[in-house]
């Protein structure tokens, strides 16, 4: 998708994100995934709206996105499936990451998916390099990296966007910002557009709960990037406040006390129905379909096995088959050096 989008298709993407995030939250509450697992509730509009403004492909010719754990909707738009999502989160042997890392989005550059990094901001650096490669090769491709508002305080985020700006990389940095109050916890800048000006890159500020607004802003940024005009920062305001702010406010997961934006899925639904683009019953059907797909995927993943222990070995280097420690293989004979101690 890379043009003005069909609102019903956008709604379908929102519904799938919502269904997966809701199911993941249940798994978290059941203790099936770690308590710190981020689910992405409240990020439906920014996730789906941004991703559907880009070009997807499955042969390494499309755009590339780097979602945060809050953006399952973007993962699905780029060809990720609910089954992969739950396998990954549940660390199944069948997961793309083979249980070796818990990131929501496994790396698959054929589909344009860039997996996670350890620390906030690092993926801005990595995506700067990915889009540098696009520019060096004269490719008509764009990269998009999602950031949390707290991420913008890191040196990695700064160095990444500054590098992208200096190298005119076709990169879109989406900052999922909260409200004035939550932004103020991270910066004295009034908004992230002020930061963009400091880097000399274009910026746009949109309502992050309005899927059409996000979609339009990212579409414009992508066109700009494809025409050689470099990096754009898109501020999506009204996203759930960062967890750091939540902790400060002791409100747990949910919205910051001063955040009263309506639910992004409900907003999209009201608009689609209100403008008579689709009937409420059609959207009900879309939601049922999404929930059904997610339920089936989750059940299948729950029924699959975890990786065998010894699969922790190997793959650290190219051609590395993995060698178990000698004391896991045979009891040592007294007085004899083991054949291998590595």
């Amino acid at each position: 998708m890379a043009g003005r989008d069909d609102p019903v298709d956008l709604y379908r993407a929102l519904a799938l994100h919502r269904a997966a995030a809701t199911r993941l939250k249940s798994l978290r509450e059941q203790g099936q995934v770690p308590a710190a697992t981020r689910c992405g509730l409240g990020y439906e509009a920014v996730s789906a709206g941004a991703a559907r403004a880009l070009r997807t492909a499955d042969d390494s010719t499309g755009d590339v996105i780097a979602p945060t754990p809050d953006n399952p909707g973007a993962f699905f738009v780029f060809g990720g499936t609910p089954l992969e999502f739950f396998r990954q989160r549940l660390a199944r042997d069948s997961a793309p990451g083979r249980g070796r890392e818990p990131g929501m989005c496994p790396t698959d550059f054929e589909r344009g998916l860039a997996g996670p990094a350890a620390l906030p901001g690092t993926m801005v650096e990595v995506m700067a390099g990915i889009t540098l490669a696009f520019r060096l090769r004269g490719q008509d491709r764009v990269g998009l990296v999602f950031s949390g508002e707290d991420e913008t305080s890191t040196s990695a985020w700064h160095e990444g966007i500054n590098f992208a700006a200096a190298q005119r990389c076709p990169l879109i940095v989406v900052v999922q910002a909260g409200t004035e109050a939550s932004i103020g916890a991270h910066t004295r800048a009034r908004d992230f557009g002020q930061k963009a000006a400091g880097y000399g890159v274009a910026s746009a500020s949109v309502d992050g709960g309005d899927v059409l607004a996000v979609h339009g802003a990212v579409l414009a940024a992508a066109e700009r990037a494809r025409s050689g005009k470099g990096t754009t920062l898109v501020e999506a305001r009204g996203c759930p406040a960062s967890r750091r702010v939540h902790r400060a406010a002791r409100t747990g997961e949910g919205r910051h006390p001063d955040e009263n934006s309506p639910d992004p899925v409900a907003r999209c639904r009201a608009r689609v129905v209100g403008e008579r683009i689709a009937r409420a019953s059609d959207l009900d059907e879309v939601e049922r379909g999404a929930r059904s797909e997610v339920r089936a995927a989750c059940e299948q993943a729950l029924g699959e096995s975890s990786p065998a222990e010894e699969r922790a070995l190997g793959g650290v280097y190219g051609g590395d088959p993995g060698t178990p420690p000698w004391y896991r293989l045979e009891p040592p004979a007294r007085g004899l050096a083991p054949a291998s101690t590595t």
Partner: protein, 342 residues
């Protein structure tokens, strides 16, 4: 604007002239860029200025600004960008102006590059190279050896040449390797006149992970690398002349992976082991080598394993202080005498 002809100073080997270790590295970079259009360079002042030590002098004119990229001062940013470019099929070589400055990139190297393959995000063929080492009155911020900051990270390879021949062959091997490689270049060896040598005109690589026997002997083994290879050879010559003992000197060339087989073979022959490194003592590679030898060749040892290293302090600036800080030839001679007399 690019030039088609090879810069005069990068053609010494083709003319049968001897080259320094620095020139050998320059030739390796140049020839790899000629051979493979996916190889490109990034770093601070490597283009117009030709690099702080002029390793890339003339490269900008020959290859152009898209393959010799002057970056903002942002070690984390451009190393992260290198990872992204590597994901897209390029083979970046990034220069740390001094390896002391690699510390801001520690996160992206250890958490991102080193883990990428294991996590299923694919290989990242990135070479991070730069000058290391003391003896140049550079003080605490321009003299460090950084190998042990990274040695503990599975997924990385670490190379540290001591001769021009090895530097060229190892650099080519590092660039062609699909795993991330940290390539340390000792400043004192860069232009050392006694290290000039005529290199083969034809293409060659020195395989990673293979040590070199720099001197044959049967009375004790010195395992070392980098500038300390030459100090050890000097000490071995003194010991042969004054004491009539024959010291074997093993030049590791690659620290990660370690050539366990070569170390064990030599120790089993001589029964005595001294590890010499310019890096500081505590947590230095001597500890790891001693442990491996203890596991693999304990029964062949006729004396305790010893080490000669820098003292445990930052690298001091004043000449006398730095001279005291660094390992000396006389330290190696003294220790070998103790070892062979044990």
């Amino acid at each position: 604007m690019t030039s088609n002809s090879r810069p005069e100073h990068l053609g010494k080997t083709l003319r049968g002239k001897p080259v320094t270790l620095l020139e050998a590295i320059s030739e390796a970079l140049f020839e790899e860029m000629e051979r493979d259009s996916s190889v490109f360079l990034m770093g601070e002042d490597i283009g117009v200025y030709g690099g702080a030590f002029k390793v890339t002098r003339g490269f900008l004119d020959h290859f152009g600004a898209e393959r010799v990229i002057d970056t903002p001062i942002s070690e984390a940013g451009f190393t992260g960008a290198a990872a992204g470019a590597a994901h897209m099929g390029l083979r970046p070589v990034v220069e740390m102006q001094f390896m002391d400055f690699i510390s801001p990139a520690y996160d992206v190297i250890t958490n991102y590059l080193a883990t990428s393959r294991y996590r299923g995000s694919g290989s990242v063929p990135v070479v991070v190279r730069g000058p290391v080492g003391g003896g140049n009155r550079g003080g605490p911020f321009h003299s460090q050896n950084v190998e042990m900051a990274f040695f503990h990270t599975p997924g990385l390879k670490i190379v540290y040449p001591s001769t021009a021949y090895d530097a060229k062959g190892l650099m080519k091997a590092a660039i062609r390797d699909d795993d991330p490689v940290i390539f340390e270049e000792h400043k004192s060896l860069y232009r050392a006149p006694h290290l000039r040598e005529v290199l083969p005109a034809e293409d060659y690589v020195v395989p990673l992970g293979k040590a070199r026997r720099a001197r044959e002997g049967g009375d004790a083994t010195i395992v070392t690398y980098g500038a300390m290879v030459h100090a050890s050879l000097e000490a071995a010559a003194v010991l042969e002349k004054d004491d009539g003992v024959e010291i074997e000197v093993l030049d590791l060339r690659t620290l990660l992976p370690l050539d366990d087989a070569a170390i064990a073979e030599s120790v089993k022959k001589t029964g005595r082991l001294l590890v010499v490194h310019e890096d500081t003592r505590t947590g230095g590679i001597a500890g790891e080598i001693a442990m491996r030898v203890s596991e693999q060749a304990f029964e062949w040892l006729d004396a305790p394993i010893l080490r000669v290293t820098a003292i445990d302090s930052p690298v001091p600036y004043a000449g006398g202080l730095e001279d005291y800080f660094l390992p000396r030839v006389s330290d190696i001679v003294t220790t070998c005498r103790y070892l062979t007399g044990y």
